[in-house]
């Protein structure tokens, strides 16, 4: 009980402020101080969220988005880590690919949709590949950096004790780069969510981004808020869940991407 009391004493502002805002919002919207057309009451939004969840619409869209994120992220992670490791190990490859990456990386990923839809069958596959682009670059970048920042002395010492080839890679280079790879994966997963929602807004008829955009087009404002809430929840789950996972798995290293 005491611990709970102390915890509340420290956090009362953090917990109280959103609650106060919600209550004020409810009241202002109910009395007409806020235009309920634009800012429907939180209780009404919650009701719509429940309805969307009950009739299954929501779960269909959530599942679609999650499956897309899953495919995109797997694609980006496998290619990104592989190419990132290769670029970290071989200087020539790194110098060759660096300028290509530098040009492509800052391009907003949604713009790749037209290009990708020329390359692969449009529809689901184009959507997944487009979503993977940004995550791939992030993961490749951080992995390369992870290999490069390993202390030369450690590598020299390992070589000296006879570690070569696969052994050197598996026992020294990979563990040394792992914290950075994990940071890359975490950022990549976060970006997969961001991009998939953007791409769904642009081109899909299913998925959370599409649900949000279609709700806007028919002016179902309550459904917009409900969808936004679900997207935010998903974002929080992905980014904070993964950060917690890292803290458990790799507690000895600070997160390289926290700045």
């Amino acid at each position: 009980m005491r611990a709970v009391g102390r915890w509340l004493g420290e956090r009362w502002i953090t917990i109280g402020s959103p609650l106060t805002v919600l209550v004020l919002w409810e009241w202002a919207s109910a009395t007409g101080l806020l235009r309920a057309v634009f800012f429907p009451r939180p209780s009404t939004i919650a009701g719509h969220l429940r309805d969307l969840a009950m009739d299954g619409t929501l779960w269909g869209h959530v599942a679609t988005t999650l499956v897309r994120i899953g495919w995109s992220f797997s694609l980006a992670a496998i290619l990104g880590v592989a190419i990132g490791l290769a670029m970290g190990l071989w200087r020539r490859l790194r110098e060759g690919l660096d300028p290509v990456f530098a040009v492509i990386y800052p391009i907003p990923s949604v713009l790749f949709l037209p290009l990708v839809s020329f390359l692969v069958p449009p529809g689901e596959i184009a959507l997944v590949v487009t979503t993977a682009v940004t995550s791939f670059f992030l993961i490749a970048f951080t992995t390369t950096h992870g290999v490069r920042q390993i202390d030369r002395l450690v590598v020299e010492a390992a070589r000296h004790y006879g570690a070569r080839g696969w052994r050197l890679f598996a026992a020294v280079l990979l563990p040394g780069a792992l914290p950075f790879i994990f940071t890359g994966l975490r950022l990549g997963l976060g970006f997969a969510l961001i991009v998939v929602v953007a791409v769904e807004i642009v081109s899909a008829s299913r998925g959370l981004g599409a649900l949000l955009w279609l709700s806007w087009q028919v002016l179902k404002v309550e459904d917009m808020y409900a969808t936004f809430f679900v997207i935010a929840l998903l974002g929080a789950l992905l980014s904070y869940g993964l950060a917690a996972l890292r803290a458990r798995l790799l507690p000895w290293v600070p997160d390289a991407g926290d700045r």
Binding site: P106, P108, V110, L111, P114, G209, W213, M224, S239
Partner: protein, 246 residues
């Protein structure tokens, strides 16, 4: 070595497209694209749309940075402010900011304010978080030394805390500008009727691919100039800082 791979890719693309190994309808030769780019920049709509995107970007960035840096600093110094703002930050930060667009569209109507504010929002959260991190991760010994030498209140802030947080603030501004561009172009792609993002969309729909690739290349060049330029500036201005940000 640095330009070998990109050059090789472009040359191969040129040959494949000219020989019809890849469909020139979908993958026009780079020289065709370059010609279109030059032609449209001088005579056509490309320069105008570039200007539109740049104006939106400048407005969005200013709207984000001006409140974000002071807020981040204030959160770093005053615990109650941090407690007050943090829940909203934590809720909205991981959300793709383009989802704010439909809300701004219904509240402000379809038009520039909604587009620019959506672009600003993505920079705003990044800058607040980087600035806050800059204050929070500074060496506490710096503050103690400052205090021991008699620096308090505003003096401590201007002479110790702000300089220590400056590298992180700069990183936040740099990342924020990049995010702003990404979000703005996406907004233009879906909702606006002008700007480089809209050009890519329109020429995609009309399948006028040389124009599409030209606009695409221009966005890439813009992103490259902004990220590289700011990074060089950061290295020049803040020479003592090692940057690992991606």
């Amino acid at each position: 070595m640095g330009v070998a791979v990109p050059t090789a890719v472009l040359v191969l693309w040129e040959i494949f497209s000219r020989l019809g190994i890849v469909s020139p309808r979908y993958f026009p030769a780079p020289t065709t694209v370059a010609w279109t780019l030059a032609d449209r920049l001088v005579a056509g709509d490309l320069a105008g749309d570039l200007l539109v995107t740049l104006t939106r970007l400048a407005l969005a960035f200013a709207l984000a940075a001006l409140p974000a840096v002071p807020l981040g600093l204030l959160m770093g110094i005053a615990r109650p402010v941090r407690d007050l703002v943090e829940p909203y930050l934590a809720f909205v930060f991981p959300v793709p900011k383009i989802t704010l667009l439909p809300f701004l569209l219904i509240i402000l109507g379809v038009g520039e304010p909604a587009f620019v504010l959506t672009g600003a929002s993505s920079a705003f959260f990044q800058i607040v978080i980087s600035t806050l991190a800059g204050v929070q991760t500074m060496d506490p010994r710096l503050v103690e030394v400052g205090r021991n030498y008699g620096a308090h209140g505003p003096r401590l802030f201007w002479k110790v805390i702000l300089p220590a947080a400056l590298p992180a603030i700069f990183t936040g501004l740099r990342l924020g500008l990049g995010l702003s561009l990404v979000t703005l172009v996406a907004v233009e792609f879906v909702a606006a009727k002008s700007g480089l993002g809209h050009l890519v969309y329109r020429h995609w729909q009309m399948l006028s691919t040389p124009e599409m690739y030209a606009a695409f290349a221009l966005v890439g060049a813009l992103g490259l100039v902004l990220t590289r330029g700011l990074r060089a500036l950061q290295a020049r201005v803040l020479t003592w800082q090692e940057d690992i940000g991606v």
